[in-house]
Structure formats: C-alpha cells, structure tokens
Symmetry: C3
Subunit: 354 residues, 3 copies
C-alpha cells in the first residue's frame, strides 16, 4: 500500500477494462453520473438501446450532461440545449447553423457483456474488447445470482488486498461467517502467479460440512471443500464450494456439488474511494438458500467496508509510511506487485509518448 | 469563465458598489454577518438608525463582532467588551483608560438607497456614492415588488452569464416558464455595449400574449413584447413586458402596458459562492397576479441556482480548462469582457501603487 | 496567539504531561480512540486493570487498534488478529511462528493519578512521572466533585487565554454568572510568574456574598473573597471562594469557608481543536449546592466554547495576522510567553538532535 496517494507514484492503472456498472442500471433513456479514476462520467442508454459513456461535462458551459435528458439517440444538455451522440459529437446547437468540430465531449469505450458494463478509461487505441474477462455464471441457467454496488471510502488496493487474503475471516467476520480461527489457519494456502493473474487456493479435503453447506445441498458425509481466489487486473473472482468427499472435486468434477461464485468488480473512483460492484451466484436450489447466501454476503461485505474505511483514515494521514507484511499476505502482495508493475510500465509509456 | 478560481488572475472587482443586502434586513440594533469578496463583514444598524459595515473581527482577540451587541451608536464585542463606533474606532476598553489609536477595525462605506444597502469593498478614497445605480421601481407607487436573497454555491460570473443569455429558458425552465424552444430562437437578439454597460434586447412585435400576460392585463388583441437586459458592474436589470400592438412600446410609450422589472444584485461571497439579492417589480394590478409573478420568479431562480452549482462543481475540478462559446453567448461574453478589463486594470493599479 | 497554525512555528509542546482522560473512562476491556497533538492514540485497560496508550494504527495494515478487542493483557487487531501487549510489542501473528522485532506499535507513557490519566507525547526518555501535577481535591473526602470532557473546535492557546483572563465574565457570561461589569473591573488583578508557572489573583475583602455563596454556606456578614488562577504547562487550576471577613482567608486559613476548585486539563487534539477535560470540586455541603455548581459551570463553559470556536474561524482564515493586546491580558500573555519559550527550546533541541 506504500505510495498510495503520493504525488509521483501512479495512482491508477488506465489501460484496463473496469466495471462501470450493471446493465440493469441503465434502462432506455436513463443516465447515471459516476466518477472513475478521478474523471466524472455520464453513463446513458439511448432510446434505441445503445449504452454509452461520455465525460460528464458539457463543452459549452461545463454543466454535467447527467443533469440533461436522453432524446432518441442523443443526450441533450439541460442548460442551452446542445445535443451529443454516443460518440460525443455535438449534433445540434440551438440557434446556430454551423457546428464547430471542437463541439464535442470525450467518449469512453463502453461494452456490455454478461450483464455487466465495462469501461475503458485509458488510451482509446488500446481498447480491445476481446480482453474483457468473461463471467459466464451471470448467463448460466443453473446459477441464481444477485448483484450490488457499494461505494467504499477506501483506496482500491485496500479492497483487492482484503479479498486476496481470507485469513481475516475469523476477525472481521467473527459475528457473521468467521468461525474458529484455528480452523482457518490449519489449512495450507497456495498462491501462484500466471502472467498478470494471481491465483490463491485453499483445499479442505474430507472435512465436516458447515451449516450453510448442509442447508444448500444434501451431502452423504464428509466433503472435499475448495476456496479459489483469482485476481486479474482489475477483477477478483472467489469460487468456494464442496462435493462429497472423494468424488473428484479437486480434478474438476464439481457439477454434482455446491458452488458459490463471487464476482468483485473493483473500480477506483478517486485515490481514496472505490466503486465495488459485486455479485454472488450459486447452484444451490434448496428453497431460501440463494436468498440467504446473498444476504450473508452483503452483511459480510459491509463489515469489510467499515474496515477499509478505517484503514484509509490512517493511510491518508501518512500515505508513504511503510507497513509490515506478514506470512498470510502472500496472495495480496503478488496482486499488488502485478498492479504496480503494470502502472509503472504504463506511466513510462506515457512519459515516452509525451 | 476561463481563469475563474486561478491564483494569478484577479478573482474579484474591488472598486465597485455591491449590494450588501436589503434595508429591511437591518432593524435598529440588528447585526448581520455576511462575507463579501472573501472578507467577513458585520452589517449593523445603531439604535439611532445608522446602518454601518465593519470587518467582522474584533482587533483584540478576533471574535466576530456580529456575535456582539449593538448598544446605542456602538457595537460591543461579546468577549471582553470593547466598543466600536460606526467608523470602526474603539471608544471603550473596559478597565483601561487609554485607548490606543491601533484599537480599530476596518470600516466599509455603506449607503442606503432604493431600499437597498450598497457596500464598497475597494479603495475607500475611490468610493463615490453618486455612482450607485438608481433603481426607482423600488420607490414607485405604481409598482408592487418583493425581494429575496439566495446563497448560490457558484462563482458570480456564472450568475451574470446565466442572466445575460435567456436562450436557456426552454431548457432549464422547461417545467416552469420555458415554453417552446423554437419560439425563443426565432427572435433576433441584439447586444450593444455602451462604456461599461451591456444591453441585450429582444423584441417580439405583433405576437400572441402568453397566459401570464393575459392574466395581468386586458389586451385588445396581439401585443408588442420586449425583453431588455442591462448589465452594469455589478448589477443586472431585466425589463420584460408588452403593450397592445402598434401603440408605441418600441418608442418608449409603455405606461399603458404591462411590465416586470427584475433587479439582480450579484455580490461575490468567495470565488466559488455568490450572494444573489433579487427583486421583481410589476405594474400589474389584477388580483393575485403580483403574488403569482413573485412565486414564479422564485421557482425559476431556484432552477438556475441548481444549474450554477453543478457547473461550479465541474469548473472547480479544473478551473483553467477552456470552454466553448456559442452564438447565443454574445451578451454574456461582452459582460465578461467588461468585467475582466476592469479587474485587470484595477489589479495593475494596485501593483503600481504597491 | 500570533503564529498559531503557521508552518514554521512549533504547533505543540511535546515534552509535557497532558491529561488523556479520566480514569473512569476506562473500565477493564475498554478501548478509547483519541487524537493528541495530531497523533491518533488508543487508550485501553487490560482485564488485569493496567491502563495503556499505544499509537492507534496496527503496524500491519494500519487498521485502528481501537476497532479491535482487549483480550487478557493484550489488544488484538480486528483485521488479521495481531496481538500487542501494553508496551506495544506484538506477541502473536496468526499462522506465523516467528514474530519479527519490527512488529510493534509506538507506546506512550500513561500514568493514573488523582482519577486522571496523564499521557506523555514527547521524548520517552524525558518522561518523569514525578513531575505530574498533583490534584489532591479529587481524593479529598471533604470535597464533592464532578468531571466532564468537551471537544473544542479551537486552538489550545485560545482556551488557556480564556481561563487566564476572567475579565470576560460580564460579557460572555452575561446570561449566566457574569454579573455587573463595574464590579469586575473595580478589583485589582495581580499576575506573578514563578518559573514556568503563572499565578493570577484577585481579592475582594469585606464584600457582599453573592447568591451562590449564600446558598453554599452560612456567612455571618461580609466576606473576604478570592479568585486564584494558576497555570503550569499544561494545566490551569482556578480556586475561588470566601471566608467570613477578617478570619484569615488571605493568610491561608480557609477551612472554615467555601471553596470551588476548577481543574482544567487542556490537551491539543490538532492545531485547531482541543480536548478540554475539566472538573469542579467544592466543599459546600448544603443540599443541592454541589449539583447546582456543576450545572452552572457546565453552562458557563459551553458559552466559552462557542466563543473559542468563532475566534478560531477568524484566526484560521489569517493565522499570522497580529492581534491587539489590552491591559487585562497580562495573565494570559505571561502564560503564552512561557509556552512559546518552552516550545522554541524544545524545537531547538530536536533540531540539534536531528
């Protein structure tokens, strides 16, 4: 975390796909104001159904376009009526025939996929939609899922770190899903880096099913449990679940078991605040269980949110002060190393270009 | 607007008469704390009826004098009892015989005229009360008027710009007085500069009377309408109205018609906030019409206020970023040019003097 | 007050014992977060009864330890479970055998005496508990006392100044204990410096007992009154009271009279905010009188608090602007001179050491 908030170190990774929201946030005609990487953005959907992202600032008198209205395929500023298309080009200035080429606002590539809106805040020439991570569980009929959006008053790396190291469960979540500390620390954790991805896994073969698991699925006896955390810039997925012991879960045969797939879209709003777009999907079908899983997840994430905000208070007071790493930080440290390497390389490229 | 909020460009015009409030704000014994041009001021009225303006900071221990009390012809600090006259000179220090000449607070010329309080924040030697703009409608028995005071979280130039260009009516005020955009843009607008004054006018001869006009006055048929906006540093008056078509309204014969005179006192509080002292006067006499006009005006100005505050958010985030001018900005651009020329000249004079 | 808040002048006196709170604030297992001299501190009491003060920031991921829990003789961080003893040394890191010597948080000497918690924020080698001021009235069975804690949004020197100069009574406290200004200013005030202590005294021999005094004690006729204010870094005691006239009060024979002992622990939170830990002790025994004295004192101090916060607004706006001294400032000026001399000497020593 050292360096977060300082002037010279890069604050953000620009050339990456970030979650901008949920597709369902934007019905036709809707506009939503959100700040990403310190830039105010208006997300809107035209009457024809196209989702778009523009800088949320009219080029004429700086009024946020999100205060305007969507009319057909354009968004109209509510001050003097300038109209912009989804590319950010002005197509109408009332009482003026000629529209100068400078009458435009910056547009940001926005792609809808798997019920998510993905935005590209960096160099537009590098935006490659084929590199957007898939999340098939949002489209898989065997899975039930629900989503949420938290605004966290903490730096994005604090949230990444929180999710990459679940050894905090017995402490932060003592009142919810925490359980016995000794159980958590008795299990070996493996962290593996693969390019820009980091994968942390913990396996608990032949163990007792906890209450949620029993409610979700009938297990014959002991179970083979897994916890798999996968980071790629900038997204974390956490796959947890179990199958009957000895039925091949660790070789990939999991369809007969119980799974929960957590999706964690982590998008910096500013250096000190973060959009947290998350969902939880499960193949549990027992009545009431998916709802219970969603509620428990939401309660748990609120506990994390409080911790992140308290950390940020202390870090903001002295941003460059070093912190002590401990053994269980292995996964989060690798994720931060990937991020910092990418941010430095990007900063270097921008300096060379400038 | 470029330059608003930057360090080197002047933020305010000092040598000008500004509206400090309404005479009615100050009953004898009252004191009111207001900040003008970044300086905290106490306005008060002595028991003898004299209105005065002093810096709102006791020279002894910096307590605001507005927290004190008016006693006779003096204002007394509520901490240790120092008493100051309307010139800002200390006339009593409890338990101390000699009053040093340094025991004084800065005074600001304050003049009452036409139910308004006018303050001079600049060089006291240049304060010339004969240059205070008249506003006879506040004293004309043929006119009914009401006044208000809004605190706007936006730069003063944003408000000037808003009032100098009424092409925003169909957009900001679509729900109130806006009307059809095409009607507004079909009318030719003229902007004329005369010294430091800027006058914008729009005439709609032989047109249909809108509902408010019909309620205010019986018109025989079509009407000759006018909209006249006049800027002088730092005040805007907007005169709108109509007479029966062809009865001489455009040659000055308007006594037989219907008029609304808007007064807009625009006084910077800080670089990002503005005091907006406004009144609306009308010669309409139909029962309920003046009240309706006042209410409609207040509703409309609240809509403007919201827009100004949103603009300021974006401008504060990047104060020097240029904005695009469009054709309908002609009047507001001239007003800003006058202001910027005066501010630069004043800044130059102050640098020469220093 | 000149210089308060500036960058180069020292803001605080570090090598001094400050009141951190009341012993009663900390039951076993309790932890309290407070900022002193810009540093966030956690005060806690172990199950064994030991009160301690540590920096309120875990060395691992900066979470405030005050968000954690006290377990036995340690405080445990609620994020990943690190445990620290009262010396700030980490004694447990879950899932890690070796604890590095760098795993510690800064501890601050904390001493309990006379129902108060005293903290040392400076050089730990200079912390000498024998220099903690005594306040025997908190332990004297002849005295009844009550305590309170105000958070004041004003610089600590403003509060010192307020208490060292009671000539403000007829103005700030006109509605409560103020009384007639002439009475206050007719009495001679003496200010004497003795090393780092400053003592201000006012004596009113053979005077009429005011209502509170009559309610507190039966006096035969006129009384010999005293007001004694004593400053030592950083604490003020105000001893007020009276005996029957001519019975030796001014020679120290006061046991037969009526006394009120005000304790004022003044601890900077930041340069612009102050912890105000105060108590009032009295030997009055008439039913209801001690309660009435406490209530009156609390009401009075709230009036002072409002004044201090308004002063701070003006001072923060222009921290280096000089203020005018008047005759009644003699005591407060001496106290500030002591403080500024100590702060400068300390700053010099730190620069030499660095």
């Amino acid at each position: 975390m050292a360096g977060a908030g300082t002037a010279k170190a890069p604050k953000f990774l620009y050339n990456a796909w970030y979650v901008a929201g949920w597709s369902a946030d934007l019905v036709p005609g809707a506009r939503v104001a959100r700040t990403f990487l310190d830039l105010p953005i208006v997300l809107f959907r035209t009457q024809g159904g196209q989702a778009a992202a523009l800088e949320d600032r009219c080029c004429h008198r700086a009024l946020p376009l999100s205060f305007g209205t969507v009319d057909g395929e354009r968004i109209r500023c509510s001050y003097h009526g300038l109209e912009f298309n989804v590319e950010g080009q002005c197509e109408k200035i009332p009482a003026q025939d000629r529209i100068p080429s400078t009458a435009c606002v910056r547009r940001f590539p926005l792609v809808e996929r798997d019920a998510l809106l993905w935005i590209w805040m960096g160099d537009i020439d590098l935006a490659d939609a084929s590199r957007i991570p898939d999340h098939p569980w949002h489209c898989d009929p065997r899975f039930t899922w629900k989503s949420h959006h938290f605004d966290v008053r903490g730096n994005w790396e604090l949230l990444i770190e929180n999710l990459m190291d679940l050894s905090h469960l017995p402490y932060i979540h003592a009142r919810t899903i925490g359980g016995n500390p000794d159980l958590h620390f008795g299990v070996k954790t493996q962290a593996v880096r693969d390019g820009d991805n980091v994968r942390v896994s913990r396996y608990m073969p032949d163990s007792e099913p906890p209450p949620t698991y029993k409610a979700a699925k009938h297990f014959a006896g002991t179970i083979d449990r897994w916890q798999e955390i996968e980071f790629q810039p900038v997204l974390i997925r956490i796959n947890t679940g179990a199958c009957d012991a000895g039925t091949g879960a660790y070789d990939g045969a999991r369809d007969h078991g119980f799974s929960m797939i957590g999706f964690h879209g982590i998008t910096p709003e500013t250096a000190a605040t973060t959009h947290y777009f998350w969902s939880i999907a499960t193949d549990a079908v027992a009545p009431g269980v998916p709802e219970q899983i969603f509620q428990q997840t939401a309660d748990t994430f609120r506990e994390d949110q409080e911790v992140l905000e308290l950390q940020q208070l202390r870090i903001s007071a002295d941003p460059d002060r070093p912190l002590l790493d401990i053994a269980s930080d292995v996964g989060s440290r690798q994720a931060r190393q990937v991020l910092h390497r990418l941010m430095k390389a990007e900063q270097h490229d921008m300096q060379v270009a400038a």
